[in-house]
């Protein structure tokens, strides 16, 4: 059962990813990305990481896809269908495939002893996040704040500058 779900979700993850990198239409690419990200949330559920699955659907499926679609709409020009891939795309495909094969071979080669997948209670996750990882957590919130202010300043139109 677990294998069945894994194969279905892996198929949607990889098919969505391939769709993102081969489709001509940018809006279709964003929707393929959504398929891939939701399938990844399903993979997190197989791994019993329920909290991460929720975060994945909320942040990636909700926020990031919407921001990407907004960017596509706001920069929409007649040129989009004509922005083709690089002329070196076969070289890029070979290089990417080589990286994938090397990584996959390295993973197949290792023999880490593993347990069957199990899950933390939400309370344990929160405890760890706010005790052991408290400082990185605060730094992450600072990073988000700086990125937010920076994005506003960069994207603002020049007319209202003093």
């Amino acid at each position: 059962m677990s294998w069945f779900l894994f194969i279905i979700l892996a198929f949607f993850t990889l098919a969505g990813g391939l769709g993102v990198v081969v489709t001509r239409n940018v809006v279709h690419a964003a929707l393929f990305l959504l398929v891939s990200l939701v399938a990844v949330a399903g993979l997190y559920l197989i791994l019993f990481a329920e909290f991460l699955a929720l975060v994945q659907v909320l942040i990636y499926g909700g926020a990031i896809i919407i921001v990407l679609l907004f960017a596509i709409m706001l920069t929409r020009t007649a040129e989009y269908p004509y922005i083709s891939d690089n002329k070196q795309w076969p070289l890029a495909a070979v290089a990417a495939a080589a990286v994938g094969v090397v990584l996959g071979a390295a993973f197949l080669d290792n023999n880490i002893p593993e347990t069957s997948p199990n899950s933390p209670a939400f309370a344990d996750l929160a405890n760890s996040l706010f005790t052991t990882w408290a400082i990185p957590f605060e730094v992450a919130s600072l990073v988000l704040l700086v990125a937010l202010i920076g994005a506003i300043i960069i994207a603002r139109t020049g007319e209202d500058n003093r």
Binding site: S2, F6, G17, A93, G100, T115, S119, A151
Partner: protein
């Protein structure tokens, strides 16, 4: 039961797809999407390791899941900033084709 290595091979494949997208695409928005694919591949790897290796040596307490939360945070910040830069680039140069954004190219 799906072994750890299946998730790792899947994440390697997804990473390679994203890498191809970053190298072959010319639209800046599509490059950002490919970077998201690569970050997701890393997250699959982290979370698979966190739930298969819990309590073994130094891989305790599901630290992988917490690092994945940080990766998602940074990805969100990256998309926000990246889109702002792309909008500004589009307003100044009327294009999002990265081959034509060559002002700083030597």
């Amino acid at each position: 039961m799906v072994p750890l290595v299946a998730f790792q091979v899947l994440s390697a494949a997804l990473f390679a797809i994203g890498l191809y997208g970053v190298m072959a695409r010319r639209s800046a928005v599509l490059i950002v999407m490919s970077i998201e694919l690569m970050l997701n591949a890393v997250n699959i790897n982290l979370i698979a390791a966190a739930s298969h290796l819990d309590g073994m040596g130094k891989w305790a307490n599901f630290d992988g899941q917490i690092i994945a939360i940080f990766v998602i945070t940074v990805a969100a910040a990256e998309v926000g900033l990246g889109m702002a830069i792309i909008l500004r680039m589009y307003r100044n140069r009327s294009t999002v084709n990265v081959d034509e954004i060559n002002l700083m190219k030597w």
